[in-house]
């Protein structure tokens, strides 16, 4: 754990947490210590779409993101 923290809480507007985009690593918190050979969870990986898409689809995956993930053989949630 990094020990140089001096100030806690959000650095910006906490409401930004309501609009998290570019999520991945479906149904299972994405790995934060991944090798370079794995996709960066903050980049445009196929799974799970955005939180808004997931909410619209009534699932934890966006519909189109799930279709892409299944097609590519990547794990994805129901």
């Amino acid at each position: 754990m990094t020990s140089t923290q001096t100030q806690g809480g959000f650095a910006g507007d906490p409401a930004a947490a309501l609009d998290v985009a570019g999520t991945s690593g479906c149904c299972g918190n994405p790995p934060q210590a991944a090798a370079p050979t794995l996709p960066d969870p903050r980049q445009a990986a196929p799974c799970c779409g955005t939180a808004a898409e997931a909410a619209q689809a009534g699932a934890c995956c966006g519909t189109s993101a799930k279709a892409e993930a299944v097609a590519s053989g990547t794990g994805c949630c129901g």
Binding site: G9, A17, L18, C27, Q32, A34, A59, S72, G73, C76
Partner: protein, 417 residues
């Protein structure tokens, strides 16, 4: 609630000081070690280990003074690799056995083939596929590969490995297709792809099986509730299931999500002992998150039917903090986020908006104010997710954050409409 100097007033400090001082990293580390131990076998949904873990957690919750209930449901098509695949490759002169979990794994879309199938190597989309294991080139989708695979023995797909050299395990994914499919680490895949492209005797052969089946299994969430306190209900959640051990490969699921469970239990302990009756508290320890966040889907639907609207704080991963904890929020969570922000400022834990693709999304989708907190995990879904890699300091920091946020959210009252 903050003063102009950014410090909480004395009354808040007077409560939060002792409350957070009671948080024990040692106690949480012991919980993680227990959940990650061999008797619980990685806690896959529907497994004997998962049921044993749930029973242990039920006793733990009861010891904390909670009224404990179990809510069963069924999960369909949970994949299980029921034997270590036996995979060997011959390059024309030398035979090499591939190590399960590192060099080779069974693809989620694989058909179940318990018997070792022997075949020459070929490249999908080039030449005759009949009776051969087909190397699927990078960039070719699985569906495209099927189109080139008539009569093939099976497919071989390249897959990256993690920092520890493991092909991590997923339970949620595509349904089985018509062919055996193995994933090879990218280095092995590239070597076989080159050999297959060379053709003739130099192409060599591969012999392998894909022992994977799908099971409909019983699952159950575990709920704990304490005598009602004041203000809005706060629901602390964490999933206790893991992806489960493979034959010959322990996958302890210490950080994912033994750490989250430990945090929730510890936060509940300090809230109910240090400020009893001040927080209207309940806990849900959820099953089947790894199978598609199905436990939280079940619970969120129950809450909707009951007309309940608790403030949901979900923890998924509290083992390996880097700079800041990720927070994802959904539903009418502005008030809850404000409490979390204040808790972060009080405890000194930096927070950053970021993806937490976990049970919190099910509650948010149901219209409940929900936040997910993720503070890192080493060895994601692999044998490397061991208790020694879960940092007690991270456990402590997140448990303090959650306890403080729960208490502050209660004091702030319901979130604004």
């Amino acid at each position: 609630m903050s003063t102009a100097a950014g410090r909480p007033p004395t009354t808040v400090a007077a409560v939060l000081g002792p409350l957070l001082g009671a948080v024990s990293g040692e106690r949480m580390a012991a919980t993680v070690a227990t959940l990650a131990a061999e008797p619980f076998a990685g806690r896959r949904v529907g497994s004997a280990g998962g049921a044993a873990a749930r029973a242990w957690l039920a006793r733990h919750l009861a010891d904390l003074g909670a009224a404990v209930t179990v809510e069963p449901f069924t999960v369909r098509f949970v994949p299980e690799v029921y034997a270590a695949p036996d995979v060997r490759w011959h390059d024309g002169t030398t035979e090499r056995r591939l190590a399960f979990g590192r060099d080779v794994a069974v693809h989620l879309a694989s058909a179940d083939e318990p018997l070792v199938r022997h075949g020459g190597l070929a490249v999908a989309g080039a030449g005759d596929p009949a009776g051969r294991w087909l190397l699927v080139p990078p960039g070719m989708t699985l569906f495209d590969a099927y189109g080139h695979a008539y009569g093939a023995t099976g497919l071989l797909i390249g897959r990256g490995v993690d920092a520890d050299g493991w092909q991590y395990t997923m339970l949620a994914g595509p349904n089985p297709g018509p062919l055996p499919i193995l994933t090879l680490d990218t280095g092995t895949h590239a070597t076989l792809l080159a050999a297959a492209g060379a053709g003739g005797r130099l192409a060599g052969w591969l012999a392998g099986n894909t022992p994977i089946r799908r099971l409909d299994v019983p699952a159950a969430n575990l709920h704990g509730a304490w005598p009602a306190g004041a203000g809005p209900e706060v629901l602390l959640t964490a999933h206790f299931d893991g992806v489960g051990d493979h034959p010959g490969l322990r996958q302890p699921a210490a950080a994912d999500n033994g750490s989250g469970v430990a945090v929730v239990l510890e936060a509940a302990r300090v809230l109910t002992t240090q400020v009893p009756g001040q927080v209207r508290l309940s806990v849900a320890l959820l099953d089947a998150e790894e199978a598609g966040a199905l436990g939280s889907a079940h619970h969120a639907a129950q809450l909707r039917r009951a007309g309940a609207a608790p403030l949901v704080i979900n923890v998924d991963g509290a083992g390996d903090l880097h700079r800041s904890a990720a927070v994802e929020a959904g539903g009418p969570a502005h008030g809850l986020l404000a409490a979390l922000d204040q808790a972060g400022r009080y405890t000194g834990l930096p927070l950053a908006a970021g993806p937490v693709a976990s049970d919190n999304r099910r509650y948010a989708t149901a219209g409940l104010p929900a936040v997910g907190i993720g503070a890192g995990m080493a060895g994601y879904h692999s044998p490397a997710d061991t208790p020694d890699r879960v940092e007690p300091a991270t456990l402590t920091a997140v448990a303090k954050l959650v306890a403080a946020a729960a208490w502050l959210a209660t004091r702030c009252g319901p979130p604004p409409p």
